[in-house]
């Protein structure tokens, strides 16, 4: 049986609570019964489920209350714009808002009587018009702007709209951006990041020292792509810093299973926070997900990577660390070529692993040129002079099941090392009906840095962050043997030449359900 619970919607912080809405289909036997489920939290980790915020009860959303975004106005009002799928299967945009802003739980939501506020414009297909963004202020500060993803032919585009009241909209000339060949842009997200500061930025902020991230979920390949660029508020256009790494053809938020993600500005702690849904969840796994992370993937904070200047860093929100309990640490472990070392840990299926690896520079310099590609590599069994080395999670004692998360240093023809970061699911499970792929990509390693991984393991989900969050891979693992206390964690070095030194710390992660609401956050 499939319970459909997907797409994080309208995340916001308001009056002491973090709110998250998500697409929920209580009975997948009835197609189109998509509601907005509602949950609140004080710490992004422990969630309290509230009654449904919105159900498909109007002609304009009877076939689904789909993805939407919240805009908090300076006067404190909340505007929620969302896509409704109408009775005749047309995608329209609709406005909703809390019935009572004095209710801190924001239980009741009202749909504006003017709905729908936007129909697909001429030239745009009725099924290619969805997922409106959070609004940002125009340069004069008197109008609000949103963007909505779509496509024309095979070109992914993002439409520009302006509004004063969130009810009447003007379609503006020209798109915020477009990229040929990328197909339909779903769940478009558009937000500023600071090149100099530590904090996130409100969606309306612009000026020197700021770049804008444009992100799209590509319907055609079900991955989330982003690019850094510059936003011109006069022309209302965004231009990528590197056209070769444009939206949909360049960087991804996550090289594993991660889709329909959305950010919001957390004004409480001044962070830009990313929510993602881990795809293909079945009912069984939904229970497992509650291991300690709750219903969603761990929210990540996003900042600009000042060291490389051309990507963002994602990192699990610091509140996750409150679930850490006991830990074990192993420092300066020597891993000669071909070694694999089991680590004695409690709770190997609910763990927060932080590991760093060191390799002798000379070995890298002396190694021959070779190319690599995680997805074509055949995984961690295939050895090179400088890789693979890393950790194994959710492995059983005999390694009949194992998931290596590793680095592989290759060398381009110009002699420069390219570091690849991969998650090898080829032997992750003895079950035969499970997808088995090696996920990954290259990850920039700055001069002087060690090779670092942080991996959050939660039974069937592993989220791994390389180089402080420069590259992230979310893995769905379905082990049959390597479960609960039968799972094992290993350090390994399957390179042929490189001697690797590893230092690793592993925390046991408590189950979020066990802790009552951490109201000391107040």
């Amino acid at each position: 049986m499939t319970i459909s619970a997907t797409d994080p919607n309208g995340p916001l912080y308001y009056n002491g609570w973090y709110h998250l809405f998500y697409q929920y289909n209580p009975d997948s036997a009835i197609w189109g019964n998509i509601t907005w489920a509602h949950a609140i939290s004080k710490d992004l980790i422990h969630w309290l489920h509230l009654p449904f915020a919105m159900v498909p009860d109007q002609w304009y959303d009877i076939n689904g209350v789909w993805t939407g975004s919240a805009t908090i106005l300076p006067d404190g009002r909340i505007m929620m714009i969302y896509t409704g799928d109408t009775y005749d299967v047309v995608q329209v945009q609709c406005l909703a808002y809390p019935a009572n802003l004095s209710d801190p739980l924001l239980l009741k939501w009202v749909k504006d009587p003017s709905n729908p506020v936007l129909f697909p414009p001429p030239g745009i297909g009725p099924k290619d018009f969805r997922d409106p963004t959070t609004a940002w202020l125009s340069p004069d500060g008197d109008k609000w702007r949103i963007t909505i993803g779509s496509k024309i032919g095979k070109t992914g585009i993002s439409l520009n709209y302006e509004t004063k009241d969130f009810i009447k909209y003007d379609l503006m000339d020209g798109f915020l951006h477009q990229v040929p060949g990328t197909g339909m842009w779903e769940c478009v997200d558009f937000y500023p990041v600071s090149m100099v500061g530590q904090n996130g930025l409100d969606t309306s902020v612009n000026g020197p020292g700021i770049k804008h991230v444009l992100k799209a979920s590509l319907d055609d390949d079900k991955n989330d792509y982003y690019a850094l660029g510059t936003y011109d508020p006069i022309k209302n256009k965004w231009t990528p810093d590197d056209p070769e790494l444009d939206v949909g053809i360049g960087l991804r938020y996550d090289y594993g299973k991660y889709y329909a993600s959305k950010t919001f500005y957390d004004q409480h702690k001044k962070r830009r926070i990313l929510w993602g849904w881990i795809r293909e969840t079945d009912a069984e796994s939904l229970d497992l997900l509650k291991g300690w992370a709750g219903v969603q993937s761990i929210p990540r904070s996003i900042v600009f990577d000042k060291k490389t200047g051309n990507n963002i860093l994602q990192w699990p929100v610091e509140e996750v660390e409150s679930l850490r309990s006991s830990s074990v640490e192993f420092k300066d472990v020597t891993l000669v070529p071909g070694s694999i070392i089991p680590l004695e840990v409690h709770s190997p299926s609910q763990a927060d692993i932080v590991v760093s690896f060191d390799i002798d520079k000379k070995t890298i310099e002396e190694a021959a040129n070779m190319s690599y590609d995680c997805s074509k590599s055949g995984g961690a069994v295939n050895r090179g002079p400088l890789g693979p080395f890393g950790i194994i999670v959710l492995g059983d004692e005999t390694l009949s099941e194992l998931t290596p998360i590793y680095f592989y240093i290759a060398k381009a023809y110009n002699g420069k090392p390219d570091t690849h970061f991969c998650a090898d699911e080829l032997r992750s499970s003895k079950a035969s009906d499970v997808e088995k792929i090696v996920y990954g990509s290259t990850v920039p390693v700055v001069e002087g840095e060690k090779y670092t991984i942080r991996s959050l393991v939660d039974h069937s989900i592993v989220e791994s962050f390389a180089q402080g969050g420069r590259s992230v891979i979310t893995s769905r693992i379905y082990p049959t043997k390597a479960i609960n206390d039968a799972a094992r964690i290993f350090l390994f070095n399957n390179a042929t030449k490189a001697k690797v030194t590893a230092s690793i710390k592993i925390w046991k992660m408590d189950t979020a359900d066990i802790h009552p609401f951490p109201l000391d956050q107040i």
């Binding site: 009654p51 209710d103 739980l105 609401f517 109201l519």
Partner: protein, 174 residues
């Protein structure tokens, strides 16, 4: 020179007077505090019925009232439970809503108020204001379908009133 027994009498009378003054002061505190709420009678009877109230400070009085909201919410949940067992289709959707609302009142608002009252009373005040609004949504959930069951209506009303009284008491701490 006072004799021993007379000394003791004076000490005893002094003690009784201090105690009486203290109790009068507390009763005055309850009265003053309840005068600042929208429902003096409900406030005073609820507080006086609580064993600790005679030696309570304002924050304690606030907590006593929050506890009263909690208890009444529990009663609401139990009333909803009984009504659901009757399995009347016309009531079921509204009762579902009410059950979820009161669960949220419990785990969200009351929990916050209990924890935050001393350290961060603003959150406690907001939470109690929220409870009043949320109890109303339970009442409204029946609108257009059927008259709300009187037992539930009664409890909704009391929760609403208690929450507003609690909010007003907490306001004194801001």
């Amino acid at each position: 020179m006072l004799r021993k027994t007379e000394k003791m009498k004076i000490q005893l009378i002094s003690l009784i007077m201090v105690f009486a003054l203290h109790t009068m002061a507390s009763q005055n505190l309850i009265e003053t505090t309840c005068k600042s709420t929208p429902n003096y009678h409900l406030c005073a009877t609820t507080l006086k019925a609580s064993p600790g109230s005679s030696t309570a400070d304002v924050a304690d009085l606030g907590l006593i009232m929050v506890a009263a909201v909690k208890a009444k919410s529990r009663e609401a949940l139990s009333t909803i439970h009984k009504l659901r067992r009757r399995r009347q289709p016309k009531l079921s959707q509204a009762l579902q809503w009410c059950a979820e609302v009161y669960k949220a009142v419990f785990e969200g608002d009351v929990a916050v108020a209990e924890q935050a009252l001393r350290g961060n009373p603003k959150f406690a005040e907001t939470a109690m204001a929220g409870v009043a609004l949320e109890a109303d949504t339970c009442e409204d959930a029946f609108e257009g379908v059927v008259v709300p069951p009187p037992a539930l209506s009664g409890v909704n009303k009391v929760v609403h009133e208690l929450a507003l009284v609690a909010r007003a008491i907490i306001r004194n701490l801001l």
